[in-house]
Symmetry: C2
Subunit: 362 residues, 2 copies
DNA sequence: ATTTAGCACTCGCACAAAAATAGTGCTAAA
DNA sequence: TTTAGCACTATTTTTGTGCGAGTGCTAAAT
């Protein structure tokens, strides 16, 4: 908007920073006096007042009413975050902990995301968000069919992304192992590489044709493929640590909080939000920068997790606008980093063997 | 506790019922006057007052302070619910809707539960709960290994309960199709029917022995089995419609609400709670009847879903103590009923074929 | 003997006035 | 350019008061 650039004197920056942090800490408007007392600014409250007045004119600060202290405006937060992002240093001492926690739970991608979200929440004291974005177009790269009993078989699908999905299929008639093998072959031939909308009726009919007597297997199986594809497409979102929100007075308006939670649960909006804004690095949405109206006094910090260049998930944190950006930025970055690197080296397989052998010795 | 039996006169019952319902409706203490006016009790407020005084002495009512109306005590609610449970009639007109909604989403058990929880929440306006209880002891009934690429294969496991689970396994060396087949055979031979704690080191070593050169495959694969078993064991809980809670003033104490949400998220307590109380039919926990302290002014209504006599999930509703038990009991019963019956007839497979054919015509 | 009417009494709540607080803006001096 | 001091103002907190809802009791009515 009215980005006048870096017209801020060094002292103004210092004051702004101090004020933002004080406000994050306490949640209340902060006055000139407070700053002179607690911070090492070597000037008097009057000076601060002058500066603050200017900062307010420039749009960085807002005062809720005459004779209240100042509160950072959205622009103020934005400035604070931007300068912060440039400079925040990785204090590596927490990384170890993250790694350990994540490794312990290393499993499917969903689990990782869930754990990461929990982790983010508990480390920052805000609400953690884990998102598995919509995959634009899923295709299958391999099918395998496993018989379970006379009327059921399991369908194992490996997606182009390398994920393994399984569905149970109930058939109307009895299934012979033999037919299953043929069907699997057929699927591998005809359906690999096709996205959901490319599986057309003619293809299905042709397959039924080929299967002859066992044509009745085709439709339910294809239906499964459909389902899995759209399921993966759908996207997922998980929250953890909602209770943290309640600690902050800005969410004491139950009306609004209710709306917010409702919006979060319906997930679509957030899902869109996140997939749009993907800047590949940490994103910080402050207040009304978010298109979701109900998040006006909330901030959302999130960062995608990449594997081989593809986004496979997003980890983030939701909290009041006055969230502790310093800590949050750092934490999110570390968590996503840990996951990413862990993804690349892939499962720490050796561990069980060790565990197993040590087991006797302990 | 002090169950003096059915010492309640018919009129007392009527008054109690009227009062409970009035309180559910409005949320505020209800006085003698209100009852004479709105309900068809043919006596004056003074009489009601006398009766209410007695009811209070007996412990069915409580007055928050002198000169406020009465509020049902826990015991009062309990009485109300108990009589209600005997008599509540199934109004079948909503069942159709439930069936439809559930069928549309018919998929894996997790999805069903999730959908059901959502449904319960939206139909009752309270918070829906879906629980997949801890399975006391899972065993595998079949293994299948599917190669993905040189260093990865997928492991498909069919549990004793008939669920299909998949895990991706990364190996340290190259995998030949041949070895996979052998390994699968071996697993089917050695591990079927074993619960997690029965898979001991000697068994693993023996398998490694048999596999010879390809022994390196065994450990990571076994680890997966472990993981899946404990994962299934774990139990799962999902909430939906948390925002509904906020509509009720009893949750306006953000402090307490926060604790409640925290407890809910950690899920263990609720999981235990539910698996303990399993009376196989509808359970109603009113206020402090629940061992979870933080739920003192909440009620929990839930009912297990059975398949072939085994509990595979629990659907419930959480709300304020003054929840609309009539409606909730009914709804939960209908939803669980729908699911159960749907489970038995199993997937409505024909549908896709129809859909497919109509597809061209539309 | 049970129900009803009437009345005095008790709280809590909502509203209003008053006091206290905190922080600003401005002016004048350093 | 910074600082000190002071007047000003809006908010918050405290205090006080009246109103109303609802009870409990007693006495009359059925």
């Amino acid at each position: 908007m009215c980005a006048k650039g870096t017209e801020l004197s060094e002292r103004k920056k210092l004051i702004l920073k101090a004020l933002v942090e004080a406000h994050i800490e306490g949640g209340e408007p902060v006055g000139s006096k407070y700053i002179t007392q607690n911070n090492l600014l070597s000037c008097s409250s009057a000076t601060i007042r002058n500066e603050m007045a200017e900062l307010e004119q420039m749009g960085y600060l807002v005062q809720p009413h005459t004779s209240a202290g100042r509160v950072p405006s959205e622009m103020g937060y934005r400035f604070y975050v931007d300068t912060l992002v440039e400079q925040y240093a990785r204090t590596t001492h927490e990384v170890g902990q993250i790694n350990q926690l994540l490794k312990a739970k290393m499993a499917e991608i969903d689990q990782i995301l869930e754990t990461a979200s929990r982790l983010a929440s508990s480390m920052t004291n805000y609400t953690g968000i884990a998102i598995k974005p919509k995959a634009s177009s899923v295709t299958m790269s391999k099918f395998e069919l496993v018989s379970m009993d006379e009327n059921n078989f399991a369908m194992v699908m490996i997606t182009s992304g390398g994920a393994v999905k399984t569905k149970k299929v109930k058939t109307t008639g009895t299934v012979r192992e033999d037919d299953l093998r043929r069907l699997a072959e057929l699927f591998n031939e005809c359906l690999c590489g096709l996205s959901a909308d490319m599986i057309t009726l003619p293809i299905i009919m042709e397959m039924e044709n080929v299967m002859g007597d066992s044509a009745f297997l085709v439709t339910p199986a294809v239906k499964c493929v459909y389902e899995v594809m759209s399921e993966i497409d759908g996207g997922t979102m998980r929250l953890s640590g909602i209770n943290h929100l309640l600690k902050y007075p800005e969410y004491s308006d139950t009306q609004q909080l209710g709306q917010l939670l409702g919006t979060l649960e319906s997930k679509d909006e957030i899902l869109d939000l996140v997939s749009q804004a993907e800047s590949d690095d940490i994103n910080v949405l402050i207040g009304s920068e978010s298109p979701v109206k109900v998040m006006n006094n909330s901030s959302l910090v999130f960062k995608p997790i990449k594997k081989h260049g593809k986004t496979i998930g997003v980890i983030g944190v939701l909290g009041p606008r006055r969230m502790n950006y310093k800590q949050v930025l750092q934490t999110i970055d570390e968590i996503t980093g840990s996951i990413s690197s862990m993804m690349d080296e892939e499962a720490p397989i050796k561990e069980l063997s060790e565990k197993g052998e040590h087991h006797g010795g302990e």
